[in-house]
């Protein structure tokens, strides 16, 4: 029984082994390398993480000088350092986390964090080092710094003004081009609301726009781009092209605006518009005689028809009993004629209207697909195959979508009416030509345009009931875009209308 109360040497040994096993477990599972050395620098402890980091098995390094784990110059200095410490007791490494370099078995040198502590057991002194391999961290930090530097360089040298804002509209970045364009130093504007760069009334609307976008996701400018007005520090306004990109980071939106100054483009546009206006005006003067004759004819005939139908009504009303069905037919005729006159008035108005363009960025493939889709039913009803073949590599162009839609609708409608009844084909194709010019073709398998007439001339028409205004208006619109339109036709083989537009809109032509 006494053996139970008094620990025997075997018990003490067991307890010691248990303790040892615990330490070994801790050392073995530690993620940091733990290395012990004695006073002379010989390795006395080398845990599993140390094996992984340095690439040595513990058995290879036990008893070796720890300097084998160091590259030059640490390797040469370490023995002397240890000797100095032994002599003076002044530590250099102990108790601090330092960043130094280690050397793996394969010779690779790597950055590591080192902390050293001293343990004394009686006269025995042991130094233990905790080592963390920071290669990956350094690499990530380096990559981040490099990426930041690269982006900074792009921002600093970009010709476009680039402005970053947060969800609240607060300016986060303002590059040198933005400084030049707006006349503000970055330090003046960063932290301010971006609406400072906008004139009234946009200034008051911007916060609302942002809120609306964040709530609904509905885009007005973001990802679309548009022409807006900017305001300089000196209070002057200028036209600019704004493209905004939305980046989601940690659930928060960051907006990057890229701005191009359109001042010079606008001036060129104005000059061109002036020239064009003059040319159109001259053409118009020559057209006035033709217009007068055309109005007298196009309006005079339906008016005479209305007057005749009114007399017909009077004739019918004089009968007893009044023939209600015929009366209804006659009144229907009046309504239809008035609608036709109204459409004619609209067309004349459209022709007389100045072709002032509202230029936007236009995705041509989607735009043309939309046009063709709108005419699908009409084509199917006529038994005509309506095809669209548009390359996806077309650049975004600057054009007036409403005006261009009018042109395309007119061309497709004409093509369908030329074929009249299937079997037949109407095809819309588009391609990028040299010098950033887009070519759109509308081809039909109809009978072709008779020789000796200019379909673009005012009042020239090959269609019964045609006013001869449609293609004349189309030509005006295309010219206003700085483009051209022509057609080729051969009797029996159909017609192709060729439309060419500058991708950048009308200004680049000057």
């Amino acid at each position: 029984m006494s053996e139970d109360k008094t620990p025997t040497p075997a018990d003490a040994l067991r307890a010691l082994r248990l303790q040892e096993a615990r330490w070994q477990a801790i050392l073995g599972t530690a993620r940091d390398a733990i290395i012990g050395i004695d006073l002379t620098g010989r390795i006395t402890l080398f845990n599993h993480a140390a094996e992984v980091i340095f690439g040595y098995a513990a058995s290879e390094v036990m008893g070796q000088n720890v300097t084998i784990l160091m590259p030059a110059p640490y390797r040469e200095e370490h023995d002397a350092y240890l000797a100095t410490y032994r002599a003076t007791g002044v530590p250099k490494a102990i108790g601090r986390i330092r960043e130094v370099e280690g050397r793996r078995k394969n010779g690779d040198v790597f950055p590591m964090e080192l902390s050293v502590s001293e343990a004394r057991v009686g006269d025995d002194v042991m130094y233990s080092a905790m080592i963390r391999d920071v290669t990956e961290r350094r690499r990530a930090e380096h990559a981040l710094a490099e990426s930041e530097a690269r982006h900074r360089a792009v921002l600093d040298t970009a010709a476009s003004a680039i402005i970053g804002i947060d969800e609240g509209g607060k300016v986060l970045s303002f590059n040198p081009a933005a400084e030049r364009l707006f006349g503000y130093a970055a330090t003046e504007i960063v932290g301010q609301n971006v609406k400072l760069l906008m004139p009234v009334p946009f200034r008051h609307e911007h916060d609302g726009y942002l809120r609306h976008y964040l709530q609904t996701g509905e885009r007005r400018v973001i990802g679309i781009g548009r022409e807006v007005t900017g305001r300089r520090k000196d209070g002057t306004n200028f036209p600019m092209d704004l493209a905004v990109n939305d980046t989601l980071l940690d659930g928060r939106h960051f907006f990057t605006g890229v701005i191009r100054d359109l001042t010079h483009e606008k001036e060129a546009e104005d000059r061109e518009r002036q020239l064009l206006k003059q040319a159109l005006q001259n053409e118009r003067l020559a057209d006035i005689g033709a217009v007068t004759a055309r109005i007298a004819h196009d309006f005079g005939n339906p008016l005479a028809g209305l007057q005749m139908t009114a007399q017909r009504l009077r004739q019918l009303l004089a009968r007893d009993p009044v023939p209600v069905e015929r009366l209804t037919q006659a009144t229907d005729m009046i309504v239809q004629t008035v609608q036709r006159l109204d459409a004619l008035v609209e067309e004349f108005k459209e022709f007389a209207r100045e072709q002032r363009l509202h230029l936007r960025r236009l995705e041509l493939p989607a735009f043309l697909q939309e046009i063709v889709t709108a005419w699908d039913q009409e084509a199917t009803g006529r038994g005509i195959a309506l095809e669209v073949d548009v390359g996806t590599d077309l650049p975004v162009i600057r054009a007036d979508p409403d005006k261009l839609r009018r042109v395309m609708d007119n061309l497709v409608k004409n093509a369908l009416e030329a074929v009249d009844r299937g079997p037949g084909v109407v095809r819309v194709t588009a391609e990028l030509r040299k010098q950033e010019r887009i070519r759109i073709l509308v081809t039909d398998s109809g009978p072709g345009v008779p020789e000796g007439i200019d379909v673009f001339a005012l009042f020239e028409t090959t269609k019964a009931g045609g006013t001869g205004l449609g293609l004349a208006i189309c030509k005006q619109i295309v010219l206003a875009h700085g483009g051209g339109i022509e057609y080729a036709s051969h009797f029996g083989t159909g017609t192709v209308f060729r439309l060419e537009l500058p991708a950048h809109g009308p200004t680049r032509r000057l």
Binding site: G300, P302, L303, Q307, Q311, Q315, R326
Partner: protein
């Protein structure tokens, strides 16, 4: 409008591209006892040589394709004794001159008073065979 001159029920050929004018006029003439063949364009008119019983041609001047004047000439070549009434919404001096060159033509400007036109029809019908 029954008159003892053989002109109260005649065949009239009417060509005009304005549907309301053509339809209403044709129906009124039919109501008054005439036989009317009406067409929207000269191209739609049957072979002129086959139109032997037509007593009067009423045609618009400006139409798609062939003009009313060309139609009048072609018709006159086939039927030299049948009078032609040319209607137009837009009268020019050059057109007047062309009408004056053609004694078989009568000229009426739109808008047209039906009573006046009907009187003219009687007049030219009664005068067609002197």
């Amino acid at each position: 409008m029954d008159q003892p001159d053989g002109c109260s029920a005649i065949r009239i050929l009417l060509v005009d591209d304005e549907p309301s004018f053509r339809t209403s006029l044709a129906e009124m003439l039919r109501e008054d006892g005439h036989g009317v063949g009406d067409h929207g364009a000269p191209a739609h008119v049957p072979a002129l040589s086959s139109l032997k019983d037509v007593a009067i041609l009423i045609t618009d001047y400006e139409m798609p394709g062939t003009s009313g004047l060309a139609l009048a000439d072609a018709f006159h070549a086939q039927h030299p004794h049948v009078p032609v009434i040319l209607v137009t919404a837009y009268r020019t001096t050059s057109l007047d001159a062309q009408v004056l060159d053609r004694p078989f033509l009568r000229f009426v400007q739109k808008p047209v008073d039906y009573v006046v036109l009907h009187t003219l029809i009687h007049e030219v019908c009664a005068g067609r065979r002197p």
